[in-house]
């Protein structure tokens, strides 16, 4: 999946997101990187998964 959008703020990646990138070391993505839909995210102690209704699931 090509990351067109920032997973943290949902804005286009082309502008650069160093603060978001740093924050996402301790956060799962909330926006689909392909279409910027808000994803349904479930975190458990040992991991997380985030589901976009259009582009499927990301895990970490």
């Amino acid at each position: 999946m090509i990351a067109v959008y920032c997973g943290r703020c949902g804005e286009p990646r082309e502008s650069g997101h160093p603060a978001c990138d740093r924050a996402m070391e301790l956060e799962p993505p909330r926006y689909c990187p392909a279409c910027r839909r808000r994803m349904v995210v479930q975190i458990v102690p040992t991991g997380w998964h985030a589901r976009c209704s259009e582009h499927g699931e990301l895990t970490g």
Binding site: P28, Y31, P45, T46
Partner: protein
Amino acid sequence: MTDILEVARQQVLHDGTGLTEAQALECLELPDDRLDDLLQLAHEVRMRWCGPEVEVEGIVSVKTGGCPEDCHFCSQSGLFASPVRAAWLDIPSLVKAAVETAATGATEFCIVAAVRGPDARLMAQMREGVAAIKEAVDIQVAASLGMLTQEQVDELADMGIHRYNHNLETAKSYFPNVVTTHTWEERWETLRMVGAAGMEVCCGGIVGMGETNAQRAEFAAQLAVLEPDEVPLNFLNPRPGTPFGDLPVLAATEALKIVATFRLALPRTILRFAGGREITLGDLAARGVEGGINAVIVGNYLTTLGRPATEDLAMLSDLKMPIKALSQTL
């Protein structure tokens, strides 16, 4: 004037009597060059009154987002423009999370829901989920489901929930700046019922929400009156879209003073490192564990990620602090 740490050494370390509100404020306002002394005393108090064991816990959100309350720190409120979407965790996933948590060496597994209080659907989910966890794995199950009725307290006790978390969050005098959809007293009433029903009381809060040192001391004194079995200490991790989203992260030295002071105010409680410690303390977390902390949440939190459990367990091993065994908690 007598030095507050000399007073605390006699009163807290030797006699086991926690600091008063005024004394806690003195500790919080010690200059940074006294931080090492404060942490050292808090560590001695923890070792004397709690022992070297560290209680390890994992937490999971069974119902995420869409909360009707307006807790200004929380990205799960449905009243703010937060990117967190509502989600329910199914029973097999809940059991899997409990099994994976137990595999880290944790003895506690806390099931959390973002609600004002549980409805019939959530209580049914809890009954089924807790039974399935107890069937699958040996671990103590705790819960955090908001404000309860007496019937719900009794039902949770009957399910085998051994500890119930409900944070007062902050000092009574500052609470209206943090939450407006319910009162500090409503939270206190739930905690009173939980304790009376024989469940262990877990009650802490979040520091770094704009409260003053005087209000931190007030909060410590109010917790001392409650006498909770556990106090989780969270450090504000400002969440995008919330009213507190632009607040600065607490300075590490300030956070460590709070840890040590809460230990001196609550010498016998389980004092747990909870959310926000990664961004607040970074590599200084070990200083907190050597400054009064005797419990940790390992792995991820409810809406943010934590350090891998293996890193925290390695830190405890380096500090020669044994993980509390399940047999010690039963």
